[in-house]
Symmetry: C2
Subunit: 188 residues, 2 copies
Amino acid sequence: MPWPTTRKQETRKKILKSAVRLFAQRGFHNVSLGEVMEDAKLTHGAFYAHFSSKQELYNQSVYAATEDSPLAGIMRESEGDLSFNKIVKTYLCSEHVEQKVSPCPLAAFATDVSNQNDDAKQAYSHVFEGLLDILQTRSGGEIPDRQSAMSLAALMIGGVVVSRALNDEEVVDELLEACITKASQLMK
Amino acid sequence: MPWPTTRKQETRKKILKSAVRLFAQRGFHNVSLGEVMEDAKLTHGAFYAHFSSKQELYNQSVYAATEDSPLAGIMRESEGDLSFNKIVKTYLCSEHVEQKVSPCPLAAFATDVSNQNDDAKQAYSHVFEGLLDILQTRSGGEIPDRQSAMSLAALMIGGVVVSRALNDEEVVDELLEACITKASQLMK
DNA sequence: GTCTATAATCTGATAGAC
DNA sequence: GTCTATCAGATTATAGAC
């Protein structure tokens, strides 16, 4: 029985989905377990039938967030290669900055993870390697090597992280456009 | 009397210095006012003679952190222009990632600020514009325009932020080197 | 201005009925 | 597995003596 989709696993997924959205929007300490469970239409006490601690929930959220991230979305849409432009513009857009779409955990969870335990960092590292792999293998050769993929990842994540901390929408648009325009120059 | 350096202002500076280091290392919610005041050799209750709330302390820390940041350091050392290589290598180094030097607030406070009020974002935005200004006016023309400066800032901040969330030192070194190597290509 | 002491609140985690 | 109820600890902010 490889996938015994029990009701418990469905509930666990619901909790994770709520956790991903809330943690990404407000950060680890600005979200209580009560809020997560309420969002998942359960009560506080039921939490510990699914996770051993808030920290474990957060670590699992780092993995879970990859499923609905912007890049996962365009990967589902297109079966073949992703164009470089499509990748960059999907990531560096105001909808992603404002989290009108489910966010990339590498941008949303970065600073929180750096303040947490090694399990969280391991999850983050794993997801980061996954991004590098996608960039290199699904871009039809437009991203030639690991070094290019790494610098592109830093540019994209940095662009979104900084944008979220600015208070001037015009500067945000300017920054996103600058990153989009300059990204291709990293590929040479 | 332009600078009446009273003892109160000295104490305020001491509190800010402790706050910058602790907030940068562990984030807003992982640092208590008690810890900040203890680090500044005072007791908890004395805090409110200097700041009206923890949030105000944090906002002021964003500004205060610029004084000892890596780029402020090399600007004090050299009177003339900074070389592009010096800027990039000073920022994207493991000592900065591990905060063995006083960190740049744009990297250390980014995600926290995005979860806070508009005053914090205003402080962050102001510091960000300051970085763009330094990059453009102090690089001897090696950073030709605002768009180049913006993309470079995103690359540098992103490189440090991601590095702090990874658990594999080798990958961190690889990432920093990738960002350093590729940075110059953004300047064309 | 700085101290000690405490109020008021929040939240992670546990216990036990159903 | 989910619920209600509660414990235990931490933390921001305040009060009042010095």
